[in-house]
């Protein structure tokens, strides 16, 4: 009885006692989730069209953020710095295609995965060598303060006051716009359709004259673009330093939930992970288990999920042929 009360009833009682707290936790969770989702979209784009499980996506986000911040410190206006960063990302995509992917065609998924870890190491060393190992700030005037439903100072009693961080709203807005834009691109544009053809069948698309190598550069550039967007949103929230690469690892469970091949799925998966890990941490982890449960919660959730629906919420069912 005691255990049931502590672990099953207590947290819910606490939620009911202070619903505003639940609401702001959920909003903050969605904000986090969209960030995970933004990184995960980059994974999905690459996995869909080339079957590469790209661990380096976190490092690409770091690459974009650090280059952007670094170029800004040189005194460039933000639009020019942004443009240059995008060009660098395309150059990176080109380099990765030329020096890694093209040479590893036909290797096992595991080999490709390990190669992307190598790419991740390389990128981390490269940008830090260029801009120094010190943390950077990315200040381009994006909103980053907090909104209160009832404006009040610390300690004053307030009824249903909810805090919302502007950066969370920004992440949500940017995420939605990006998904819509990508959807339009994949379904309306010529290149997008070619990419979908490549995703469906490499051989068949090659035989109808789609240049595979160029498509891969486009795919990596596209995922670089999403990394750039993620980096900009992320960089306004936190300092830019290598921990970012590790945080991007959370995109993996997000993908498991959303499905490896679905772009909107990445956002939905991100939200599920973001919200549930924050709720668990706030009402179970912090008071009952000594905190820091966000370290593992997403992975355990993904593990449980995998046992029941391995293809994810929106993924294509996995069919294995013997």
């Amino acid at each position: 009885m005691g255990i049931v009360e502590t672990y099953l009833i207590g947290p819910f009682a606490e939620m009911a006692a202070y619903p505003a707290g639940v609401l702001e936790t959920v909003i903050a969770g969605i904000g986090n989730g969209f960030l995970y989702g933004l990184v995960a979209i980059g994974f999905v784009i690459i996995f869909k069209s080339s079957g590469v499980f790209n661990y380096a996506q976190g490092a690409v986000v770091f690459f974009a953020a650090l280059n952007f911040a670094g170029l800004l410190t040189l005194g460039l206006p933000w639009y020019l710095a942004g443009l240059l960063t995008l060009l660098l990302l395309v150059a990176l995509a080109f380099a990765v295609e030329r020096t890694v992917l093209r040479l590893l065609v036909g290797q096992s998924a595991l080999t490709l995965f390990m190669a992307t870890i190598g790419v991740s190491f390389f990128i981390e060393g490269l940008v830090e060598a260029a801009w120094g190992g010190n943390p950077h700030l990315l200040k381009i005037g994006l909103p980053e303060s907090a909104l209160f439903t009832i404006d009040h100072a610390w300690g004053e009693a307030a009824g249903l006051d909810i805090i919302v961080q502007e950066s969370d709203l920004l992440a949500i807005a940017v995420g939605l716009v990006l998904v819509l834009a990508l959807y339009a691109f994949f379904h309306r544009s010529r290149i997008g359709q070619a990419l979908r053809a490549v995703a469906d069948d490499h051989m068949a698309s090659m035989s109808v004259g789609i240049p595979l190598n160029r498509m891969w550069v486009i795919v990596w550039s596209l995922s670089g673009l999403t990394a750039f967007v993620a980096a900009t949103v992320w960089g306004t929230k936190i300092q830019i330093e290598p921990t970012m690469i590790g945080l991007a690892l959370k995109a993996l469970p997000v993908l498991i939930l959303g499905g490896l091949t679905s772009i909107p799925g990445a956002l939905v998966g991100g939200c599920i992970i973001g919200v549930s890990e924050l709720l668990f941490e706030t009402y179970w982890g912090q008071p009952l288990f000594g905190g820091a449960t966000t370290e593992w919660f997403a992975y355990v959730l993904a593990l449980v999920f995998l046992l029941f629906r391995p293809q994810g919420l929106f993924g294509e069912p996995i069919i294995e042929r013997v």
Partner: protein, 393 residues
């Protein structure tokens, strides 16, 4: 010509099934063992022994462990770091729970053999308690590994990697949160107490460098032999059958549950022992900091770059991953006097680290491209060369 397989005839099934069938192989291995056991400790500096060779050997055990799982059984794991941590913490709990059992055993057995040189200490043939503790810690790790291996019955490939990430992060979190694991040490760090084996001190900072090296080396040789042999017997063959085609394996009567779980258990057992050695012999304290996700990646690198399903590959991979960052770092540092002499300035430590990262990343990609089947394949190529030399056509 140089490496000949022809002309060797076996006269019994036993001989035909020996691990090293060819006399040439036997001589080569014996030579390597002599070098490793006698020549290296006699000539290598203390730095080379403690910080290059010992970690290399410990990581070889971990790589052999993961190779059992990934190389022989085809199950991917990114949780090696956490299982190493588990081995380390369990060993710590066991040695502090039974601090005197080892000494007692020694007294009961009552045999002390004085060595010719008193500086070498006394040889106690029955002082095996630390080994027993390592095996127990390994067994506990194996049990936990088995539990985390259960999802493998339903999940495959990279998906399985994500579930083993759950093990990685959850276990590390657990060791931080539960103070029992560190005997309620305020900082959550357990110092590795000094322990003896066969009368020689093998753990702790006061232990002679050579003792530690030989201890780890002997264990590595035992583990390598064990992996080689297990992979050749029924269990190992069932692992490989599962790896190559699980459905077909089931058809021919391999029990997939038993095969996968036994691979998880055996692999975790070895990785746990490696983790215990990492704490007790290398860094001299048990702390979660030393078993992060990066360690998991490193062990996986060793297996893949070295060669999946190859004992030799595990060693080559471990050598590559442990040596190359350190040698790069030392090498770049050593460049500085020359650069200064030519007025080119110096490379600062931070830049050395960045270059080290870049080169290490590039080397990984390089080896994956050149030899996707691992460094072990290079040996096969060399063997072929030696076979046909000097008339390759």
């Amino acid at each position: 010509m140089l490496y000949r397989e022809t002309g060797v005839y076996q006269t019994s099934y036993g001989k035909d099934q020996a691990v090293f069938r060819l006399p040439l192989d036997r001589y080569a291995i014996a030579g390597w063992l002599i070098v490793a056991f006698a020549i290296v400790p006699a000539f290598a500096s203390s730095y080379v022994l403690t910080d290059l060779l010992t970690p290399f050997l410990i990581m070889s055990i971990a790589a052999l462990g993961l190779n059992v799982l990934t190389g022989y059984c085809g199950q991917l794991s990114l949780g090696s770091g956490a299982f190493m941590a588990l081995g380390g913490f369990m060993t710590y709990k066991l040695v502090t729970a039974f601090p005197t059992a080892g000494a007692l055993l020694g007294v009961v057995a009552g045999i002390d053999v004085a060595l010719p040189d008193p500086a070498l200490g006394t040889f106690r043939p029955f002082d095996l308690w630390f080994l027993a503790i390592l095996i127990m810690a390994g067994a506990i790790t194996a049990a936990v590994g088995l539990v985390f291996g259960l999802p493998s019955l339903k999940i495959k490939g990279l998906y399985l990697a994500v579930t083993t990430l759950a093990a990685q992060f959850f276990l590390i979190w657990l060791f931080i949160k539960v103070p029992w694991f560190t005997n309620y040490s305020p900082a959550g760090i357990a110092p590795a107490p000094p322990r003896t084996l066969l009368g020689f001190q093998v753990t702790g900072a006061a232990s002679p460098v050579v003792c530690r090296y030989l201890f780890v080396l002997s264990l590595t040789v035992l583990v390598a032999l064990a992996v080689k042999n297990v992979s050749r017997c029924h269990t190992g063959r069932s692992w490989m059958a599962i790896r190559d085609m699980d459905i077909a394996a089931e058809m021919i009567g391999v029990h997939p549950t038993a095969a996968k779980l036994s691979a998880f258990a055996f692999s975790s057992f070895l990785i746990g022992i490696a983790g215990a050695l990492w704490a007790f012999v290398k860094i001299n304290s048990v702390q979660t900091d030393a078993y992060g996700i990066l360690v998991s990646f490193q062990v996986l690198f060793m297996v893949i770059i070295g060669g999946l399903g190859s004992v030799l590959g595990s060693f080559l991979g471990a050598a590559f991953v442990t040596f190359s960052p350190i040698l790069l770092n030392i090498g770049l540092n050593a460049l500085n006097p020359y650069l200064l002499a030519f007025g080119l300035g110096r490379i600062e430590v931070a830049m050395i680290k960045h270059i080290e990262f870049m080169v290490f990343g590039a080397l990984i990609i390089f080896f994956l491209i050149v030899e996707p089947n691992g460094l072990a394949r290079l040996w096969q190529i060399a063997k072929q060369k030696l076979r046909t030399w000097p008339f390759p056509y």
